[in-house]
Amino acid sequence: MAGKIPGGALPAAVGNREAVAEQRRRFIRQDFMLVCLLFAVLLLIPALPFVKGWMAAQAVLVIVYIIAAQGVSILTGYTGLVTVGHGGFLAIGAYTAALLSKHFGADVLICVVAGGAMSALIGVALGLIFLRLSGAFMAIGTLGFAFFVGTIVNNVKVFEGREGISLPPNHVFGLPIGDIGFYYVAVLLLGLMTLFIHSLVRSGVGRALKALRDSEKAAQSYGVNRWFYRTLAFSISAGITGVAGALNGLVTRFVSAEVYSDIWYSVDMLVAAIVGGTSMLMGPFIGGVFVAMLPFFLEKLADFSFILKGAVLIAILMFAPAGVGGLIAKPFQAMRRRRLAEAGARAVAGAGVAESVAQEGARNG
């Protein structure tokens, strides 16, 4: 936008660009402050007098959904692939963490890292299969994967089927933690994931993914390795969802096939990603809160929460295709664009004066 400001010869354009860049940096600082503020609030909430342990556990479940939606949004938003099977990765994360915690009494952090790593590894293998498929085929294939995981945890002995695995109390660095302590761990992980995704989408990898999303052929002709980057994205997305799964298993301290063979988990994650808005950092936060809190508020009216979920989903697709996040961000983005244009215009005006003075000087001298 700023580039379209009329007037200004070459030196003016340089000044113009600098001013715009300065304005951009200011926006990035603002965003950063906002995110810091959000996490500061999240970290301070448990200090409030009325907060009980169960609320913290409930909050962790919301965070689980947010992280899972972040995982999905890497695929749907930044890579343009669709998955209806990420419930499978949630299960893999949860069971990896559960088995480590039960049999080895492992630390929460180790369980979470292992859950994520296991999911990411399996994600590489599955990515190699699924990425051959296009759009609709991939959706069905990933759904099949979720079903498959459900059958395995139902039937293979070590996962203890519907009886479920009960877990010992959680501990971090040898210190036992309760629900509130776990909440801090979850917030910390959420922060790490957010930071990771933020830097990922701005890195070369993120740019390669977006290029592949927007035009596969064009990206390939510029030497972007489609296989490598898509498999990487699939694996990262699986790993993040696995972290969410590990958190989910550990916070409830109970993992059973009853919960993790439910393929609607997968669908809920996709809903969360889409409602919040894919391809923006804020999206999974909004979507995750929406999907996780809806059944909580409408516990007695489960059917009504279904209807509401469906209606909200359709309304968003019709009226706000960029998701709720996109809807909220729109006026701010417009404002920022205006600011950028103004900054550019000011720079042009200022540079224009300087330039004419310089020219005057040159003529006189």
């Binding site: 749907t76 669709v82 299969i129 051959r132 498929l133 296009s134 759009g135 609709a136 085929f137 959706a139 069905i140 294939g141 759904l143 099949g144 994967f145 079903f147 498959f148 459900g150 059958t151 395995i152 139902n154 039937n155 035009s215 052929k217 064009a218 393929i263 669908v267 996709l270 809903v271 889409i274 489960a302 059917d303 009504f304 929460s305 279904f306 209807i307 509401l308 979920k309 469906g310 209606a311 909200v312 989903l313 359709i314 697709l317 019709m318 295709p321």
Partner: protein, 289 residues
């Protein structure tokens, strides 16, 4: 034992085929993966239950009424939800049908409750012997209905103006429109046909799996697997896929244990897709730049 397994597999498979055909028809004309297909059937089964039990209607009259209602439901979905977003990418269309799924699920649970209800059996449950295998009459009736519907569809696509127009839209919507085919009407017809197939699928499968809001979830998924198996564009492919899945899962259920039924269907599909990403009868579409 084996013959019996195969026979009942074919019977279930023929019901999956009804869902699979609807999936294919809607997908190839509108690029929509219709997740609400199963719930059309579910609503149909509930309506049938009400017509049969509360109103005491005759079975065939009930079928007629349910077909009318569910065709209307399909068309309504198209008009209210799908048409306004018809130009979006396929993920949007897919998610919109997910919204319809949730709404129909919620409405059914709200109106009729979440518990499972038995569906009156209209045929003689004692098995009969055919070709040396013991088959239940219900299975034969289902196969007969499915075959009948298959013939109706064949005639429709082959000999009627609307059917041929529908195939034209499948092949190339833009050219079809230029040729004066009312594409919007055809799309509406497509959703009507999805409703028609859903009504039969719901009524016929209800005595086997009983009636509840989530009754069709697994059937829908198998219908999808069948459709993908056949390549998502081919009706015969979908039918063959559905029959194969019916037989395979029945054999797996019989010899491995009933837990493995659904997983078998998916193991098949993942194996097939790994070898042939475009499905069994699919055509490798020219990639667009």
């Amino acid at each position: 034992m084996l013959g019996q397994q195969i026979m009942s597999g074919l019977a279930t498979g023929s019901l999956y085929a009804l869902t699979a055909i609807a999936v294919v028809v809607v997908f190839r004309n509108t690029r929509t993966i219709n997740l609400a297909q199963g719930d059309f059937s579910m609503i149909g089964a509930f309506l049938a239950l009400i017509f049969l039990k509360s109103f005491g209607f005759n079975y065939y009259f009930t079928i007629f009424l349910v077909v009318v209602c569910i065709v209307a439901l399909g068309i309504l979905t198209e008009r209210l939800v799908m048409r306004p977003i018809a130009d979006s990418d396929w993920l949007t269309l897919f998610t919109a049908t997910l919204g319809v799924y949730y709404i129909l699920h919620g409405v059914a649970g709200w109106l009729w409750g979440r518990d499972t209800k038995a569906f009156p059996v209209t045929f003689d449950p004692t098995p009969v012997q055919i070709l040396g295998t013991i088959v239940s009459e219900g299975h034969l009736i289902n196969i007969a209905w499915a075959t009948g519907i298959g013939i109706v569809l064949f005639v429709f696509f082959r000999f009627t103006k609307q059917g041929i127009a529908m195939r034209a839209v499948t092949d190339d919507p833009e050219t079809a429109e230029l040729m004066g085919i009312p594409v919007r009407f055809i799309v509406m017809l497509t959703w009507g046909m999805a409703g028609f197939l859903a009504a039969f699928a719901g009524i016929l499968i209800a005595p086997i799996i009983y009636v509840s809001p989530q009754m069709m979830d697994e059937v829908l998924i198998k219908g999808y697997v069948a459709a993908v198996f056949g390549g998502l564009y081919s009706i015969p492919g979908a039918v063959i896929g559905a029959l194969m899945i019916g037989v395979a899962e029945n054999l797996a259920g019989g010899y491995l244990g009933s837990h493995y039924k659904t997983a078998t269907a998916f193991a098949m599909i993942v194996a097939l897709l790994a070898l042939r990403p475009q499905g069994l009868f699919g055509i490798q579409k020219r990639r667009e730049i």
